[in-house]
Amino acid sequence: LCFIPGGLDCSISFVSHVLGKVCVHGRQKEILGVLVPRLTDLTKSDCIWQRICWRLVECVPDRWMEAVVLGFVQRAPGADVLSRLLGNLVVKNKKAQFVVTQKMLLLQYGHATAVLQNLLGYLSLDSLRRTLLLRVLQELLETWGSSSAVKHSPPEQQLYISKAILICLSHLKEPEVESCRQELLTSMMEGVKCHLDSSLPQLRRLGMVVAESISSKINTEGPVLKFEYEADDETRELKSLLVQTPPFCVVPSLADDDRSENAAAALPLVPESNEKSHAAAPVMPYEESDAELDSDDDLIPYNMSEDKELKIKAPVYIRDCIEVLTGSEDVDKWEATVKALESLIRKNPAATREVSVELAKILLHLEEKTCVEGFVELRQRAQVAVLTTDPIPVARYLTSQFYSLNYSLRQRMDILDVLVLAAQELSCPKFHGKTKHSGAQKPPIQLLPGSDSSKDWRRMVDERIKSKTRRFNMGQSHVEPASSPNEFNSVAGHFFFPLIQHFDRPLTTFDLLGEDRLVLGRLVHTLAVLMYLAVNTVAVMAMGKALLEFVWALRFHTDSYVRQGLLSCISSLLLSVPAERILADMTEELLETQSWLGDVVEKDPDGDCRRLALQNLLLMENLKKKLEAVPS
């Protein structure tokens, strides 16, 4: 379809009709693939061709306008080209306006970043269209800032909207920023709140990046908002959107100005610091003057082999440790005690058992007195050591404290982490060395603690599901010659049931079903892990039943992190409870669960939830098949 209209007076409307019909039938790519480059060349300098092009698109009937406009926006190699091709179509034609400003931005989210750049750049290039740009920005910010949108829309859509916002910001000129500064500020504050509330780290990061960008735009001088987060590819990409590199520098964007100013400021700093170090300390090479008689040789050194690094001795007895940690003013000793505590506990189990609950209490409340490296990890390992040495009383203490007043969120989540790590150690003692590394958490650097351990566990469960084989000896290994009994067997119930008991009873400072969704999410993940580790224990049936009830009560929770946890619980349940028992005792519940899972697979907005639900359905299928395969 080589398209070269000849003659300047011919009616274009026929051509428009053909174009529209072809596009609407889905052949955008082919026709526009030829048309757009050709028109790009023709309209580069020729005004008449530009006007012809505009007429062309304007005459496309409304019912096909969307397809045509979409095609053009996607195909155009740049915003300026789009501007030449479409002219002020969006201002003149209502349908085009709707497609560009609403549909492509708010209702769809599958377009590439380049398409967004085209679209928003196009809106910014003409004064008539700039009002549309501002309106678009407002609507985008409204969506970005709405808490229901943050909670319910998929992360991909939120990323898309964030990108659009950043690109809009990059196009804004100074007077426009002035005029809508107040609105920008309000939207930013609301939006940041919803985003930081979310339990998914990706959404929190998105919120932080966008808020930082808005803040840097509206506060050109003075302190800007700065969050701490790990820069990854996504955030870097987002930040790069803020800086526009226009093909022709009409008005350099504000971000560019800032950047050049910063570069200029960096230069005078460098020579200044050079002046400052007067004697830049050129270290003279140590010259060997052989000619000089060395009178130092007369001095014979004494034996200095005893000269070693000074080590403050840590206490050797557990009770002494308790004394040091609770009362001592000597910070050196305190530090040494903290570092030595875990190994002391493990070497003296009998002595630890005498004071286990007291020690657990001290550790739970222990705060960093001096700057010890890895304090959080040291404390956690000591807690795990105490818990594994004397599981029942300490577990009872910790689970009761989980539901008590006046603990911080961090402490409650510490309790959960310690329970998980101890359970892991008790159930697979052979991995004693390995678990310390994989299970130990790194100190949180983010605004809210990350869910590292739950990701690890998810991976482990995934691997298990993939392998599709049930290993009957969880606590022992065929490789390891010396096998030890699964110590988790006798205490699994003590870890599990107290945690699940009080989740629906709100306290003044702690409401799992209300605000403290993050802790609920962590609790659910913890229960999933405990269930997983309880395979082959006596309590596993009872645990399974209780867990199923728990999951059932919470299955429609609005927070996606919680839902992911609930689905992990189901996975653990299906993996740990023996297949025959599941089918025998829990048939009805299983059927209900199956239908719920089916719903989740189809309707849940979160991709991870859908995936987990699908895995669970597969597991159930496998179970059924295995049982049917066994001859009765």
Partner: protein, 328 residues
């Protein structure tokens, strides 16, 4: 096979408080009794008789506030002491007297020890940290007139002066001051003109102590980190780092070079006194006697080289006195 390090020749007990400063006065002709002055945290200055190893006199002149610097001005009858009561006291100890003849109110709340230099018969210069944060004041004693105030340039951010050393190349030349500051730098000041000649960044942490050998134009400084820094002064009066030496444990409270410039001693936070050869900083001995931080070391000024002693005062209330490398 190297010999094990020697034991102290004797140990002086009786201060009942951490010992912060020591000064020998043994240069007098016989039958003058060699003495050791010690200043302690309880505010007392003890005068130790080195023949009987007992306290002859205890001087109380700083209101029970810690005494962190003692020195003599021409013999053991004229004592100078500096304490945390923000005062420098001048004592007259001749013929059994124990009176404070004069005092200077420094208004300095830090720990910077003052430095004395004899410039003429009966005339001394004293450098001390003043009230203002970064300044060092030079006074003439006994007249107590201010010679000059050494102010670093605005925005220098040196912090407090931590240690001072006044010296002059020979009797007629200009006195100069070496000052170590909180930011780890050492500055060489020209006292008469009152301006800085050279600055050297030797340490990352505050300079705790320094000492200087005017003959070789080489000096050494220690700080709270593990590094000893040796620097030299060239003809243009510029300081340059000559060498650094890494220690086993961090923290040096005091450094002093023996008057014959053969060895030097460092007092460490790791309870140990280390002896180095001054020429090449060769480690010679580690004297491990004390059970707490060693706050000060001092060499004696005996005329007979064989009688020379080294004293170390520590937080464990004891003063250990050693006879080491006396043969050279």
């Amino acid at each position: 096979m190297a010999l094990p390090p020697p034991d102290p020749q004797f140990v002086l007990r009786g201060t009942n408080a951490a010992v912060h400063t020591l000064h020998f006065s043994c240069g007098g002709p016989d039958p003058d009794i060699p003495v050791l002055f010690s200043g302690s945290e309880s505010g007392f200055i003890h005068v130790w008789n080195l023949k009987t190893h007992r306290v002859d006199t205890a001087l109380d002149g700083h209101g029970r506030k810690s005494v962190y610097c003692v020195g003599t001005m021409g013999g053991k009858d004229r004592l100078l002491s500096q304490g945390r009561d923000q005062r420098i006291c001048l004592w007259d100890l001749a013929e059994g007297r124990t009176s404070v003849t004069d005092s200077v109110f420094t208004e300095h709340v830090g720990f910077c020890r003052c430095s004395l230099l004899k410039v003429a018969q009966g005339r001394w210069l004293m450098a001390m940290a003043a009230r203002s944060l970064e300044e060092v004041q030079i006074l003439e004693l006994p007249s107590k007139t201010s010679v000059c105030t050494l102010k670093p340039e605005v925005g220098a951010k040196l912090g407090m002066p931590m240690c001072l050393k006044l010296w002059q190349l020979n009797c007629g030349s200009q006195p100069v001051l070496l000052a170590g500051y909180e930011d780890g730098s050492v500055i060489l000041w020209n006292v008469s003109m009152g301006k800085a000649l050279s600055q050297l960044d030797c340490h990352q942490e505050p300079v705790m102590s320094l000492d200087f050998d005017s003959e070789k134009a080489k000096g050494i400084s220690g700080s709270s980190e593990k590094v000893l820094s040796i620097w030299s002064l060239n003809e243009q009066q510029n300081l340059q780092v000559y060498k650094t030496h890494e220690l086993v444990n961090a923290g040096i409270s005091d450094i002093t070079i023996r008057p014959d410039k053969k060895i030097l001693a460092t007092a460490g936070w790791d309870h140990r006194v280390r002896i180095f050869g001054w020429k090449k900083l060769k480690p010679l001995a580690v004297l491990d006697y004390h059970t707490a931080t060693v706050h000060c070391v001092s060499f004696s000024d005996h005329r007979n080289p064989r009688e020379r002693l080294l004293a170390a005062g520590s937080k464990d209330h004891r003063i250990s006195v050693w006879s080491i490398y006396t043969q050279t």
